[in-house]
């Protein structure tokens, strides 16, 4: 069974997103991977001497968030793997989906009325469409 990848960043929608991914993994008895993308460009331009520690601290935060998600899955008897990748968010997600040959991508979108974090809801829909058309990967957008 191809794995389900749940891309998470710790934003407002991430808990619902993770719960949905755990549900799917249970239903399909599939491998679950929580993915965090370290993208320093979201912080804005920084000087060279800071770039390395910024990457490191973002990755550290990502690993912590993924461990919390992994613990949640464990509580529901689902064994989940975690992965941290570096680069622009959308491209890195696509690269990772190819790398593991994922069947499904679970991604969150903020509730209506809350400000967007990384993508606006429209961008998420466009990205979901793109992933499906380019790679044939099912995309579950959790609102």
């Amino acid at each position: 069974m191809k794995p389900i990848v749940c891309a998470t960043r710790g934003g407002e929608a991430c808990r619902r997103n993770q719960e949905r991914a755990i549900d799917l993994a249970k239903e399909r008895d599939a491998e679950l991977i929580f993915l965090y993308i370290v993208d320093p460009s979201l912080v804005g331009p920084v000087k060279e001497s800071l770039a390395e520690v910024l990457n490191d601290e973002m990755a550290r935060m990502g690993r912590s968030l993924l461990r919390i998600a992994q613990g949640r899955a464990r509580e529901r008897d689902v064994v989940a793997q975690v992965a941290v990748r570096y680069g622009p968010v959308q491209q890195s997600i696509k690269d990772y989906l190819r790398e593991v040959g994922a069947s499904t991508l679970v991604i969150g979108t903020p509730r209506a009325g809350t400000p967007p974090r990384i993508f606006t809801p429209t961008e998420i829909q466009r990205f979901a469409q793109e992933v499906y058309e380019e790679m044939g990967v099912e995309v579950v957008v959790v609102a």
Partner: protein, 529 residues
């Protein structure tokens, strides 16, 4: 020698009063700067101090550090969205304010229009100090505070240039609009060029010299040096300091080591505190109530003119700029704050004091300026908090307050449990009593943890914020441990410096991550309307 001692004693007394006021305002709901003016006023009434507040004292000693600090800390990234609107308020806005106020004052008091224009210009500069202090205390959106500070910084420069041109015209009786227009641009652009050149030079030096003490000293030299050089060249000293501060604060410190950066930020925070304290105390001390009383009608006219002109300029120009682009307009709620928060302070005071005594109606103009400063600081300054509440700009979301409450209850429960354990260990508490109480605390703690988890389920971003906060505190604890080890001689200079720099960089990275996370949680301009 005696004169020197008297000056030293006076400075100590002023700083002591300012410190006592700072301590006292922690217990009352009053902005620090407003409290300083009131205390200064009370001292002036009961036992006037022998202080001569000269324009040089304010403009040469206090204005450069105040402006430099504000510019240095102004995050241009946060100002980007509203910059066109803010510049519109700061440049055409000041010109319109000057003319509007002059018109009303001429009609209301019978002052010649040329003299009224001088008053209009000197009172056009807004002072964000009192307002921003209130913002910080109440947790107003950072972007709003930056917009207020940005407008004030730029309009200070514009107002001073317009004031000088208007004063020359009033004294000489000759004004050529074309010459005035070119003079305005020459002085303004010249000042900016001086700030750009010196700011760039200082930024280069700070980036190359890895010494926190020299870097901090360079910023002080820059703040005062840019002002003096520009004034010597007959261009705007204030605009030179604004540009130099913006350049070093936003670009210059990027090349400095984290230790130097931290030192520079702390130094300027402290210098601004001292300069602000003394300026606002001196405003209170220098107000002559009998002179104000004698000019009550002109002051009333001036207050009406200033408030009405602020309303016309803020609402009128904001409306105009909103016609241009949806992205850059100032949200309606912010316009109310910009209008009522247009307080006047140090710059207006310095300009009023610099009026030549030979200028006709000198006393009246000075009284009008002092009256307006007093009205805006005390009247508007004390009601701004109410306005912010009414506009819903300081209400925190329920889930954020909820997390805080659970955290507080959890901390209290933890402390209670520790105390019970101590009492039991000391043999004061019987085991069976300890067990019954302890079980109760365990239950409370687990129910609180459950409730927090439930809250995080609906607002997962709170969990991430907690994670960032915890990591930052852990890094700070690590830094403190390194300092202890260094003091005890366990670490050499070299190793200590290397490890401390790494932690400082990590703390800086965490601050950037936190700012990025928070800025993405803030509504963009225009949202929430």
């Amino acid at each position: 020698m005696e004169e020197f001692l008297a000056i030293e004693a006076l400075i100590i007394l002023l700083v002591l009063v300012a410190t006592l006021v700072a301590i006292a305002v922690r217990r009352v709901r009053l902005a620090y700067t407003v409290a300083l003016v009131l205390v200064g006023l009370v001292i002036a009434i009961r036992r006037p101090l022998d202080i001569e507040v000269t324009p040089e004292l304010i403009l040469l000693l206090f204005v450069p550090p105040l402006i430099f600090e504000a510019a240095f800390h102004l995050d241009l990234r946060l100002l980007r969205d509203t910059l066109p609107s803010i510049l519109m308020l700061a440049v055409p806005g000041v010109l319109l304010t000057t003319l509007f106020v002059a018109g009303v004052v001429t009609l209301g008091t019978g002052l010649p229009f040329a003299t009224a224009v001088v008053f209009g210009a000197l009172i056009a500069a807004t002072d964000p100090v009192a307002e921003v202090a209130i913002f910080r205390e109440l947790g107003v959106p950072r972007r709003l505070a930056v917009a207020v500070e940005g407008e004030s910084l730029f309009n200070d420069g514009t107002a001073i240039v317009v004031f000088r041109i208007a004063l020359i015209a009033a004294v000489s009786g000759v004004f050529d609009p074309v010459d005035g227009f070119f003079d305005f641009f020459q002085v303004a652009l010249g000042g900016m060029a001086v700030g750009l050149a010196l700011g760039w030079l200082a930024a280069q030096l700070i980036g190359r010299i890895d010494d926190h003490l020299i870097s901090a000293t360079l910023t002080i030299l820059l703040a005062y040096g840019a002002y003096l050089v520009a004034e010597q060249l007959h261009v705007s000293g204030v605009l030179a300091v604004v540009v130099a501060g913006l350049l070093t604060g936003n670009l210059g410190t990027a090349g400095a080591s984290p230790t130097a950066r931290s030192m520079i930020f702390n130094l300027w925070e402290y210098l601004a505190f001292i300069a602000n304290s003394l300026v606002f105390l001196l405003i209170g001390l220098d107000i002559d109530l009998s002179q104000l009383w004698a000019n009550l009608w002109p002051i009333a006219v001036a207050v009406v003119a200033v408030v009405a002109s602020r309303a016309a300029v803020v609402y009128g120009l904001s409306w105009l700029s909103s016609l241009g682009s949806d992205q850059t307009h100032i949200p309606v709620r912010w316009r109310h704050v910009l209008f009522w928060g247009g307080l006047r302070g140090a710059i207006s005071l310095a300009l009023a004091l610099s009026l030549p005594v030979t200028l006709p109606n000198h006393d009246m103009l000075e009284s009008m300026a002092f009256g307006v400063i007093l009205f805006t600081l005390v009247g508007q300054g004390t009601t701004l908090q109410w306005l912010l509440r009414r506009l819903g700009l300081i209400e925190r979301p329920g889930h954020v307050v909820g997390r805080e409450r659970y955290m507080g209850q959890l901390l209290a429960a933890q402390a209670g449990m520790h105390r019970l354990d101590d009492l039991r260990r000391e043999g004061i508490l019987l085991d069976k009593i300890w067990q019954s109480l302890h079980a109760d605390y365990i239950e409370t703690r687990s129910s609180l943890t459950e409730e927090m988890d439930h809250l995080f389920a609906n607002h997962a971003e709170l969990e991430r914020e907690l994670l960032i906060q915890a990591r930052r505190e852990a890094l700070q604890a690590g830094r403190a441990a390194l300092m202890d080890a260094f003091r005890q001689g366990l670490l050499s200079d070299e190793v200590f410096g290397e490890l401390r720099t790494d932690i400082d960089r990590r703390l800086e990275a965490m601050a950037l991550i936190e700012a990025a996370v928070q800025s993405r949680q803030l509504p963009r301009q225009g949202e929430g309307e």
